[in-house]
Symmetry: C2
Subunit: 330 residues, 2 copies
């Protein structure tokens, strides 16, 4: 049998584990040209919450009764294609299930000797998102100050480290002192500020004495608003995600100061999706891999065991429960 | 005597003519290196309202008891500088007064044969703002759809015409059917939509069947919000001004969809001030002048007579009373 987690109902407000159901389906059979992949692990990321929100998302209209989507790594266990061999390690849209049928065009082969879990983190969508958002969209350069929200998240913790590698001063914003301790002591952030503290704005100001040149926005909402007040003239805001607005039926209005502060400070805000940079993935991965090998970049994962734990792990992630990339190990 | 309009009090909500007072001051005397300019006309523009709003403005902290600021054209009537001659026509920060003392470095000489009033419109700050916002910030190109708000205003009516010159489809948004008729019938806009009508959103949708590639935002607020929903993937929003938010003590929050829609549609929003393009003014003016001479670009002015009329004309402008550049003739 193929154990799967289906979307049972769409959340009307906050997501609940009850929005999912676990089922045992017949083992899928592959047709000509297809490949059967056994999932070894998949990542849970806040962005997939947008796919349950309807037309406001790039993920398209949400549907129930289907396997919950997600990117995973797995092993090819059967193949009707010459393009891959049984035993190959691959990165693909496994979804939340034990086995998936794939077309070779949708598989990325993980080179021998590479850690497959890195492909759910720095070598995968999260890492590439951090890389292009920081360097191409945000245009972060040495000596500048970079601020990142959801800084302990799957993308944020990589953004901050990549900015340090560029020679930037890095300030993270996250929702717990424990996360912030990790960012500073383990990942080398220059400072980290807890947005849940009453003195958040004052603390952010203190942590950014030279203002902010690049804000990597994973949250939107009032943290975006706080960044606007710290931005320097000519600053860039890389709009990556809106985690503060995903898990709700009624998204907030945008922050005050848009567009007024954008004009006064000649700020550029640019939304991006990593897929727009697909033609540059290889070069980026090569550079990221070298950072991993040298130890300049650390991949934090936050592991959960077993498919059954995935729904609650997603709910907890949306409440900020993870440090690093949350990975479900099968 | 030198008749002047002073800022008497700062508005706490909407601006009123009572925030100003008219005084007769002694005629100023020029020192070594200085020039006396007699004001012939000055422009009233919504952006100067921001200067009365305090720290949220690029114009700096507001002050009372000073002459109201403004850009005007005048004639040199006395000079202690070799750089200008009596009789020269100049563009400068005259303020709302009959005579001003200037340093030559703050004067732009208006070439003989040029219409000085054009320097309060297409050849001045308004025209340069339209030019760089549309072409450099918005990156408008032939065949694209350009939307502009405050489309009958001093900047907007030029933006739309310049976009037509580039070969774009142009949709204006303004607050009266009379303005919209002028935009379409006199200035060649493809369509113009009245945001005060109940079916505004539907009308905007109908007027932009191919979506919007470039939105030139003079207003912020809900018109910005409506544009976000019509933007195409990869679209650009040139943030020029926030006229919907100037004349109030309590600016609105930003529209819903920021930053969510920016991400989904990979939109770039960029605030700008025309002064950042000062090194390119000469080329731009040369091109704008050729458009004026060929008749491709029409400068609409909305003239008011006499200094005493300026405060009420400003209040009326903030309520949308003008078509084209509002100019006070002395």
């Amino acid at each position: 049998m193929n154990e799967q987690i289906l979307i049972k109902t769409l959340p009307s407000g906050k997501l609940s584990a009850d929005n999912y159901e676990r089922v045992a389906s017949p083992m899928p059979e592959i047709q000509a040209g297809e490949v059967l992949v056994k999932t070894n692990a998949f990542a849970i990321t806040a962005g997939t919450r947008a796919g349950l929100q309807g037309s406001a998302s790039y993920a398209g209209a949400p549907t129930t009764g289907i396997v919950m989507g997600g990117t995973g790594v797995g092993t090819v266990v059967a193949t009707n294609s010459d393009a891959v061999q049984v035993g190959d390690q691959v990165l693909t849209s496994t979804g939340w299930q034990q086995y998936s049928v794939q077309k070779p065009a949708n598989l990325e082969l993980i080179p021998a000797g590479h850690d497959p879990l890195h492909y759910l983190g720095p070598m995968g969508v999260n890492g590439l998102t951090a890389y292009f958002g920081l360097l191409s969209v945000g245009e972060a350069r040495a000596e500048q100050t970079v601020m990142v929200s959801a800084a302990a998240g799957s993308v944020g913790h990589l953004v901050g480290q990549m900015a340090k590698i560029q020679g930037c001063t890095v300030v993270g914003v996250a929702g717990s002192d424990q996360k912030n301790d990790t960012l500073v002591s383990k990942l080398g952030f220059d400072a980290a500020v807890n947005y849940k503290n009453g003195d958040y704005r004052a603390a952010l100001k203190e942590a950014t004495p030279d203002g902010v040149d690049v804000y990597f926005d994973n949250t939107g909402g009032f943290i975006l608003g706080s960044a606007l007040f710290r931005m320097n003239v000519g600053g860039r805001i890389a709009c990556c995600g809106v985690v503060s607005q995903y898990d709700t039926g009624s998204p907030e209005p945008g922050p005050k100061g848009i567009p007024g502060l954008l004009v006064n400070k000649r700020i550029t805000m640019r939304g991006f999706l990593v897929f727009d940079f697909a033609d540059q993935y290889n070069e980026a991965r090569s550079e990221i891999h070298s950072w991993l090998q040298s130890g300049a970049l650390i991949s934090l994962t936050d592991q959960v065991s077993g498919l059954a734990a995935a729904p609650a792990a997603f709910v907890d992630l949306l409440a900020g429960g993870n440090i690093g990339t949350r990975v479900v190990m099968l």
